[in-house]
């Protein structure tokens, strides 16, 4: 066990080590901090900013699509918006939010004093704002921002890409380095800093899901780095990896991209599974049903995620045997995913439930993520995918798993743990108001997209045929409801986190786990002496 008891009385008598007295003062605290709580907060605030910027771009898209015809933006700019919206939400909002939650919670959940590699922790956060400054600055460059979709398929992104593509590649490299360092840190922390008695199969599920996610990150972020480097070579150094005229293969790009991209999908959902698995038992006042099978389900989803990538490519002209393999492998994922949903429902069954804001978000997660899972199962059926592929049905599917899936999971986690972070209880009525507005908004936005997709509307188009008009108007109205209701969230966490009622240590009466044994707000340093877990 690497944990060493350094919290000796005589150390406290000296002033030269400010870390034992709380945070440093001023901006230096944030620039030079190695404290997991500070770094967690910075990740979360950064993620919230990106969520709002990416959301603004989504609203520009939905405003343009409110009715047929080109009203507000030109197709060039529309494509930049779809691209940047996707990149910012995936790499700027969802992933850093989970890393922020991991920073805050993993040490407190396993009884560790901090992350295992605190200086690297600081660096992995601080390069992130620069990656996104580079990416966002491309909006103001000649030729505009990247406009080839967040999947940046070659040769549209290489031979035919705007000059800013090089900046985009540099940005992706920095994000990748940040993610890999974050993942190394999380694995090192979980494997080395658990309190005595905290065996692997006693770890909270949030810790388990993050351990597995971190391995996924280490496995696939280098692949992403590789594919963007090959793009860089094609653009500037005369190679032809993806250029058919030079003997390359544009489809090779897609294979490499999705070998990264599919595990990436699970990187964005597994930690949410963990959060939901913490929240439902708390508010059902009943132990999580089937803990071991939950762990095995997450692990098998992670393993399967490496052999399903080409289900994103059913229409590229793969050989028949490839289609069949990827169809079967993809359908297999439904089994462990189903186990998770069944276990959550079995946890609620014969519980003693209450419905505070975190629980509302968790319940909505279970229902709406499952709907996204159903459409995912439909998309897995290769012959039918020829009709769904690259239509709004796909847009509906992945927004159902990412917005009421990943994003609701993050929000549930924030509502659940924020009292522990700030020491103040959030305003319940405001939280519930935020929940219901988001719930209604999200469904009005994304449910009609199933319909227009099935009716034949392709994705990533700035203008559409008349038969798609009505559902598009409805979706746009929903998007503005959802977007504006996030201001309630911002207000609630900023305002009430300061002035709300004082929180107790346990905060929620059904909550169990080490994080609820420390006072609220959690002291700047927790578990300097490892707790004993039995």
């Amino acid at each position: 066990m690497a944990t060493v008891d350094i919290d000796l009385p005589h150390v406290k008598d000296h002033d030269h080590d400010p870390h034992h007295h709380g945070p440093a003062k001023g901006i230096g605290r944030w620039l030079f901090t190695t404290n997991h709580k500070d770094i967690g907060s910075m990740y979360l605030i950064f993620s919230l900013c990106m969520f709002l910027i990416g959301g603004l771009m989504a609203l520009i898209i939905r405003a343009e699509l409110f009715q047929p015809g080109l009203q507000l933006v030109e197709p060039e700019f529309f494509n930049q918006m779809t691209t940047m919206h996707g990149l910012i939400m995936v790499f700027g909002a969802v992933m850093p939010a989970f890393v922020g939650l991991a920073n805050w919670m993993i040490p407190m959940m396993i009884g560790a004093p901090d992350m295992a590699l605190p200086r690297m922790n600081n660096w992995s956060f601080w390069i992130l704002p620069f990656a996104f400054l580079i990416l966002l600055s491309s909006l103001f460059m000649e030729g505009g921002a990247p406009n080839f979709g967040w999947t940046f398929y070659a040769p549209l992104s290489t031979t035919y890409g705007p000059p800013s593509t090089t900046y985009f590649i540099f940005g992706v490299h920095i994000m990748g380095i940040s993610s890999i360092m974050g993942a190394i840190n999380i694995i090192a922390t979980i494997l080395n800093l658990r309190a005595p008695g905290m065996t692997l199969m006693k770890m909270p599920l949030f810790v388990w899901t993050w351990l597995i996610t971190a391995f996924l990150l280490i496995a696939v972020m280098p692949v992403l780095a590789g594919v963007v480097t090959m793009m860089l070579m094609d653009i500037h150094f005369g190679t032809s990896f993806f250029n058919a005229a030079g003997g390359g293969d544009p489809v090779l790009f897609q294979h490499i991209f999705w070998f990264f991209g599919h595990p990436e999908v699970y990187i964005m959902i597994l930690p949410a599974f963990g959060i939901i698995s913490e929240i439902i038992p708390t508010f059902a006042r009943k132990r999580l049903f089937g803990y071991p099978s939950m762990v095995y389900a997450v692990a098998s989803i992670a393993l399967l995620s490496f052999i399903v990538w080409a289900h994103h490519m059913f229409t590229v002209g793969m050989p028949l045997v490839g289609e069949v393999f990827f169809m079967f492998a993809t359908m297999l994922i439904a089994v462990p995913t189903g186990v998770k949903v069944f276990n959550w429902v079995a946890t609620m069954f014969r519980g003693s439930m209450t419905f505070e804001t975190p629980m509302l978000f968790a319940l909505a997660f279970v229902v709406l993520f499952t709907i996204g899972g159903f459409s995912g199962l439909m998309l897995a059926i290769a012959p039918v995918d020829f009709q769904y592929h690259d239509t709004y049905f796909v847009v509906a599917h992945f927004h159902y798993v990412l917005v009421p899936g990943a994003v609701f999971g993050i929000m549930a986690g924030v509502y659940y743990w924020l009292p522990k972070w700030t020491g103040h209880v959030l305003n319940e009525s405001l939280g519930k108001f935020h929940f219901w507005m988001s719930f209604v908004g999200v469904n009005i936005t994304f449910f009609p997209m199933h319909f227009v997709g099935l009716a034949g509307m392709p994705r990533r188009i700035p203008d559409y045929a008349l038969q798609f008009a009505d559902f598009n108007s409805i979706a746009s109205v929903g998007a503005f409801i959802f977007g504006l209701s996030q201001l309630i969230f911002v207000y609630n966490i900023i305002h009430n986190a300061r002035v709300g009622e004082k929180a107790t240590a346990q905060v929620w009466d059904g909550a169990h786990g080490l994080e609820w044994t420390v006072p609220s707000p959690a002291p700047y340093h927790t578990f300097s002496t490892p707790p004993k877990v039995d």
């Binding site: 197709p75 069944f342 199962l377 039918v384 199933h450």
Partner: protein, 289 residues
């Protein structure tokens, strides 16, 4: 300002009059499109049944097992039998689903013994159709006027789904498509045929269709291909064999006339007159500025 308001009113009126509330896939007009539709409905109903079961239990718990009703939490937290059952049952359902799906897939991949071969090439942002046996070769551009796109005129019913030269194929014949691209990746899709195949530069993909019902079928490019990705529709006219033959003959005659005209010499005035004709037919893509 008034003009803009009028255009807005016009577009609103036309869109609400013509829009519909279609919520499902089209059954389509080919055997394969109908097979796909059936698979789609099958998997949909499987999802509905599972969903009703899972959400049923969940909402039952939400209403019955709540603290405000005095519910006491039970203490069970595992049950091996139940867990094995709900792992095995989905697995069996999925196998049952995958078998017919594989059959349909095999039919879709059987491009042998075609009666007509047509090469389809995607360009930024138009389609080129080459009939390999007939020496017919033409481009197909969006024909929606830019006034309609910029809301300066009312939108016609086929807004964005109309082209100058549609692809023409014979009814009841197996038509094989050889699909490729000249610049970036495009994807050629006609929903009623359930044919969607990526057009990839340097590679040739195959697909096929046999349509018994003559008519006009419309689709779009479905792979983001740059600025005017939303403005390169696919229109296919399926004609009875006799009409198709007549069309082929007419295309050949047109080609012969062109070849004839190309070998003539013209005066400057004649050339100017012909040039005006080309410009006013609007062969420049309408959205380009």
């Amino acid at each position: 300002m008034t003009k803009a308001m009028m255009a807005l009113g016009l577009s609103l009126a036309s869109s609400s009059a013509l829009a519909d509330w279609q919520v499902n896939l089209n059954q389509g007009v080919t055997e394969i499109s109908r097979d796909i539709f059936d698979l789609h409905m099958l998997i949909f109903w499987i999802c509905v049944v599972i969903g009703v079961g899972v959400f049923g239990v969940m909402f039952y718990s939400i209403f019955m097992h709540r603290k405000s009703k005095g519910a006491q939490a039970a203490h069970f937290h595992e049950n091996t039998t139940v867990e094995v059952v709900w792992t095995v049952i989905p697995f069996v359902i999925l196998i049952g689903m995958a078998i017919p799906a594989t059959g349909t897939l095999m039919d879709m991949y059987d491009t042998s013994e075609a009666d007509v071969d047509i090469q389809i090439t995607g360009y930024q942002w138009k389609w080129r159709y080459q009939y390999l046996d007939e020496e017919i070769d033409f481009f197909s551009n969006l024909s929606t006027p830019r006034e309609e796109i910029y809301n300066e005129a009312g939108k016609n019913p086929n807004y964005l789904l109309e082209v100058d030269n549609p692809l023409v194929i014979p009814a009841g014949k197996k038509v094989r498509f050889l699909i490729t691209a000249n610049d970036v990746i495009h994807s050629w899709w006609v929903p009623h045929f359930a044919v969607k195949k990526d057009a990839i530069p340097g590679f040739i993909n195959e697909s096929w269709v046999r349509v018994d019902e003559p008519g006009v079928y419309r689709g779009q490019c479905t792979e983001l291909c740059g600025k005017d990705h939303g403005f390169m529709p696919v229109v296919v006219e399926v004609k009875p064999q006799a009409e198709y033959d007549a069309w082929v003959a007419a295309q050949r005659a047109k080609k012969a006339a062109l070849a004839e005209a190309a070998s003539q010499s013209y005066s400057v005035d004649e050339l100017i007159a012909m040039g005006e004709g080309v410009l006013s037919t609007g062969h420049a893509p309408p959205v380009m500025r």
